[in-house]
């Protein structure tokens, strides 16, 4: 069972404790999108809809001439002329029963109608940001208000306000996975059936760097240079090209640092293509930096799924079938990644970590008068894990069983991997029985009652919760990932990648993999991301779906070995031997058949030493068990996280610093959603009522005082390094673990997020009698 021990496949020689990019980033020397400026740039400002749903009767911009420095105003009429009407959509063409996907238009500036508060109506271009802002306020729009619908279930009801003429019933898509009949039969024959509906709430990523762009038009090649936060230049080019009906070769994406991605950066937003119109018409670069209010209103939101699980069990509490009814609220328009990701990812892991012979899911998509929704750290993976891990806890509660025991009875055993699920997935490898046993021991699961009693003595309600989760990560959408390595005469290795770090630390992890393979210090590797210094963009995926270490990271290893082989051929001539007689170690080529040696630097000084490595990878399956205990103050409803343990299997770990950082960040991002983050719209007016950090509750550092992180490794064979992508898995595990713990403390079947102090306090008031008995 050496699978369970730390990998010997790949040993990192020079342990990297801090990240190479951090000094640059924390000393203010990063270069983010708003740091790009062009000498003759103009500034854009957007006039946005102040209402949720209305017909545009007229737009009058006669008065903007009063403002000095205004160059032009653009509206939907210009969008129509340019043909910038359809953002890309990755939705499969057909859904349930052959239903054709109905992807509505989204002109980059509204034509005829506005559909959510924040929808861009006009763009002013001026020689200063201030002038553009002042001019926006002088544009007079006459609207004819229409009734708005912000609730996805309401939107699908007959008689609901219709957002788009070509999307009848606000229903753009339905899909199915698994098969319905066996699940219906399993439910009919079950000894126990437990049903639970959970709201995996709408949230927003709130990256530190606001959305921004500088867009330049190059007349000589009729092309554009784009500087905007991106998760990878190829995805950005593809999306710009699709929205603007141009070839990908018409776009260069030049960026350096990105301050947070979370899925929100993958989208080509309407503001950007609007700016293209002005950049071309005026032959001047156009710059725009979003305000935080604009971020709340118009950046893609995440989650927004209402999920009902119906779990069938036999008399031994073995799971026999699971039905999932999934309603995803996609807002006023379909984003490129939103609906597709929220169907594909849950389908892949519809069984969670359990052996469930019959699976069926019905996905409904609704359009509402709200901001659009896209991938958000996990994109459907945390949502399905949350729904399953909540219904399993609810089942344990109804059966009066230990939730750990109920899980143990149903885990897919190690010897059944690769496991073929009833939705057609092949899940490579995991060992939940072993992993969760380690977690339960470390968390002293069985000793909980004593801790609960001690908390009760202090007047606190203590609860314990666990989650056991798995998810698909790593697979790309591009044919391959490429890494280029070039050595210069100083022996420095330049590494080119198109996977873009948004904070993940690729400059360190890529350098570590490469340096290890080459046997040279990490500092000798310089990582360059994106299109910088290159005339031709390489092939490769963007950073998203936890794929970058599985893909581009692994290719660093492949490329380094290719570089050694290429070097051997070149060195053979110098050493006067056959390439097969050359050996390589620690930056030096030598041969026992020759007394000569030649270093990487010496070789590169004489000859071009450059290779492109490549690889293609399918999904890996990081998994884990998180156990947390909470203490609730019944007087105020405040939840204190008393302990948090994570035991994770993310395959081979290259950098513990980075993996721990990702785990911290992801767990806390989940915590944010559990305890406060929530985008809320007023049901009547459709106005966002959480449009600033005064109402949108971000997590605070003090909420998670400490966290114990442990590993339990099974190696993936998808790539030679055994890596499983893990950038999102912490979020997947923390949502259910924390809600399970709070539900346990309160003795309730379920409580929807966010578990704010006021909601917890109100629940305690309703359950006072029960709690008195229970605790």
């Amino acid at each position: 069972m050496d699978q369970h021990h730390h990998s010997q496949l790949f040993k990192v020689g020079n342990a990297q404790v801090s990240r190479l990019e951090d000094i640059r980033l924390i000393t203010g020397n990063g270069k983010y999108s708003s740091d790009w400026n062009a000498p003759d740039q103009l500034h854009a400002c957007f006039l946005r809809s102040d209402r949720a749903h209305a017909r545009i009767v007229s737009i009058n911009f006669d008065k903007v001439g009063q403002i000095k420095g205004v160059i032009g105003v653009y509206t939907g009429a210009d969008a129509k002329v340019a043909g910038y009407l359809r953002p890309p959509s990755f939705l499969p063409a057909t859904g349930k029963g052959g239903m054709k996907a109905r992807v509505p238009e989204r002109p980059c500036l509204a034509i005829g109608k506005v559909r959510f508060v924040g929808d861009p109506v006009a763009m002013v271009i001026a020689d200063s940001h201030l002038a553009a802002q002042d001019a926006c306020e002088l544009i007079e729009v006459v609207y004819e208000d229409l009734p708005a619908v912000v609730d996805p279930e309401d939107a699908l009801k007959p008689g609901a306000p219709q957002l788009h003429d070509d999307v009848p019933g606000n229903n753009p898509y339905e899909a199915e996975s698994g098969s319905e009949a066996p699940v219906t039969e399993a439910i009919a024959n079950a000894a126990y059936v437990v049903k639970l509906t959970v709201d995996c709430t709408r949230v927003t990523a709130s990256p530190m760097e606001p959305r921004a762009a500088l867009i330049e038009y190059k007349a000589d090649t009729d092309s554009y240079v784009v500087h905007t936060p991106s998760q990878g230049v190829n995805m950005t080019r593809k999306q710009f090209a699709t929205y603007a009906n141009l070839g990908e070769d018409k776009f260069r994406v030049e960026i350096q640092d990105v301050g947070g991605g979370f899925g929100q950066r993958s989208t080509c937003y309407p503001e950007y293509v609007s700016m293209m119109m002005a950049a071309k018409a005026l032959q001047r670069p156009i710059k725009w930096v979003s305000t935080r209010t604009e971020s709340f209103l118009t950046d893609t939101h995440g989650r927004a799924n209402i999920i009902t699980c119906t779990l069938a069990m036999d008399k031994n509490a073995q799971f026999t079938g699971l039905r999932v009814d999934w309603l995803t609220d996609q807002g006023a328009y379909l984003s490129p990644t939103g609906p597709a990701g929220h169907i594909r990812n849950p389908t892949t892991c519809l069984n969670g970590v359990y052996k469930i012979p019959a699976l069926y899911a019905h996905f409904r998509v609704a359009l509402t008068n709200t901001g659009w929704v896209a991938a958000y750290r996990g994109a459907g993976r945390p949502d399905i894990a949350y729904a399953i891990e909540r219904v399993v806890d609810a089942a344990a509660r109804e059966l009066n069983m230990d939730p750990a025991d109920l899980r143990r009875r149903n885990y897919v055993p190690l010897n059944e991997y690769p496991y073929k699920s009833a939705t057609g997935s092949t899940i490579e490898i995991a060992d939940l029985p072993g992993l969760s046993a380690k977690a339960l021991t470390l968390a002293d699961w069985s000793g909980f009652e004593a801790r609960r009693a001690a908390s009760a003595k202090k007047g606190k309600l203590r609860g314990i919760g666990m989650s056991a989760v798995i998810e698909p990560t790593g697979a790309g959408t591009y044919p391959r990932d490429e890494i280029e390595l070039s050595v210069n005469a100083d022996g420095l290795v330049t590494l080119h990648t198109v996977a873009h770090s948004q904070g993940q630390g690729h400059e360190t992890s890529f350098a570590m993999v490469t340096a290890n393979a080459l046997g040279i210090p990490t500092e000798r590797i310089k990582v360059r991301q994106g299109d910088a210094d290159r005339s031709v963009t390489m092939v490769g995926n963007h950073s998203g779906g936890s794929r970058t270490m599985v893909g581009a990271g692994t290719v660093c290893h492949i490329a380094a070995n290719k570089l050694i082989d290429a070097g051997k051929s070149l060195a053979a001539e110098d050493l006067g031997v056959e390439p097969s007689q050359v050996s390589y170690s620690k930056g030096e080529f030598s041969s026992p058949h020759s007394k000569k040696k030649i270093t990487l630097a010496q070789l590169a000084a004489k000859k071009k030493l450059s290779v492109v490595g490549e690889g293609t990878f399918t999904s890996t399956y990081p998994n884990g068990c998180h156990i947390t205990e909470v203490e609730i103050d019944p007087e105020t409803g405040v939840t204190d996280i008393a302990s948090y343990l994570s035991v994770d299997d993310c395959g081979h770990i290259v950098s513990h610093t980075i993996v721990e950082g990702q785990m911290h960040g992801a767990v806390v991002q989940g915590l944010g959603q559990v305890f406060g983050e929530h985008i809320v719209y007023d049901k009547e007016s459709g106005q966002m009522i959480t449009g600033s950090f005064s109402d949108y509750i971000m997590p605070r550092a003090g909420q998670l005082k400490s966290m114990q992180m442990e590993e339990y490794t099974t190696l993936s064979k998808i790539g030679p390094l055994g890596i499983k992508g893990m950038g999102e898995s912490g979020c997947t595990a923390s949502l259910p673990a924390l809600v399970n713990a709070v539900s346990n403390a309160l003795g309730v079947k379920h409580l929807d997020m966010p578990l704010t102090p006021s909601k917890v306090w109100a629940t305690i008031q309703q359950n006072k009698a029960h709690l008195a008995k229970h605790h």
Binding site: E137, T293, S694, D695, I697, M698, P757, S758, W761
Partner: protein, 276 residues
């Protein structure tokens, strides 16, 4: 933000003249409310008259049982002042819990009181401690000064100069921070003056700071958390929004009051035993 003229004032007299001459001028002390409002383009003053450097508005001193703090004194100065810590430690504690370090290093006591944000901390101290707000024109008792949400007795052109706090026998402040903004969702300042006089001021829970007189009466008889147990804050006029019901805020006001009273007992015990 729109363009405006900035004037660094050097005396109260000059401030009066500038205000009289410019109807759309605003005073700038710390700017912790005004600047964000201007950035959101919700306020567009023609002039900002910076009063932060005016000597008449500075200084902290204790004399004849009264603590006087200049209106332009920053929160961090009150929080760290040895004079305040000795005279009214609860006031230093309150100041150390306003906003975040950035706010505490810019925001001023006069600005906070003049703004009278219903969730600000200082109004509860001024009201509980029965402070006198000294302005460029007159003296106003705290009981008359606060007149509901963002409203005070200040007249146009009237500038807060200093605040005079009678030093109480004991005082304590407890607040429940709003989970998003960090402002008080409910804060209770409890102070004892003489043997049987207790004043309790609640901030954050309602449309403005108010005295909880039932609690004052009960605590005047017996200064113990248990005295408040059977009481409840009238929820009728309290705030209600997505972050909490009126009932929740009434509960928080009571819990914070109990915790402030409990803290009084600890403080008292510590001072008796010679601790700090």
């Amino acid at each position: 933000m729109r363009t405006f003229s900035y004037v660094k004032a050097t005396s109260l007299k000059q401030v009066g003249e500038l205000l009289a001459a410019n109807a759309d001028a605003k005073l700038l002390a710390g700017g912790m409310t005004l600047i964000p409002t201007m950035k959101a383009r919700l306020a567009q003053p023609s002039h900002l008259i910076d009063i932060a450097g005016i000597a008449e508005l500075s200084g902290i001193e204790v004399k004849d049982g009264k603590l006087t703090i200049g209106a332009a004194t920053k929160h961090v100065e009150v929080a760290k002042s040895a004079v305040v810590k000795k005279a009214i430690p609860a006031l230093a504690y309150l100041a150390s819990h306003i906003g975040d370090p950035q706010v505490r290093n810019r925001g001023t006591i006069g600005g906070s009181l003049a703004n009278n944000d219903p969730a600000a901390d200082y109004p509860s101290a001024a009201l509980s401690l029965n402070a006198t707000i000294v302005t460029s024109k007159r003296e106003i008792a705290a009981d008359d000064f606060f007149q509901g949400m963002f409203t005070t007795a200040l007249e146009a052109g009237e500038v807060v100069v200093k605040i005079v706090f009678p030093v109480p026998a004991k005082a304590a402040y407890e607040k429940f921070p709003h989970p998003a903004s960090g402002y008080a969702m409910a804060g209770s300042f409890v102070s004892q003056h003489g043997k049987n006089v207790v004043r309790v001021a609640i901030t954050g829970a309602g449309p403005g700071v108010f005295r909880w007189k039932d609690a004052e009466a009960a605590l005047g008889k017996k200064l113990a958390a248990a005295s408040v147990e059977g009481l409840s804050v009238d929820a009728t006029d309290l705030n209600e929004d997505m972050h909490g019901t009126k009932e929740y805020r009434a509960n928080l006001a009571k819990v914070m009051t109990k915790r402030a009273v409990a803290k009084l007992a600890v403080t008292a015990a510590a001072s008796k035993s010679g601790g700090k």
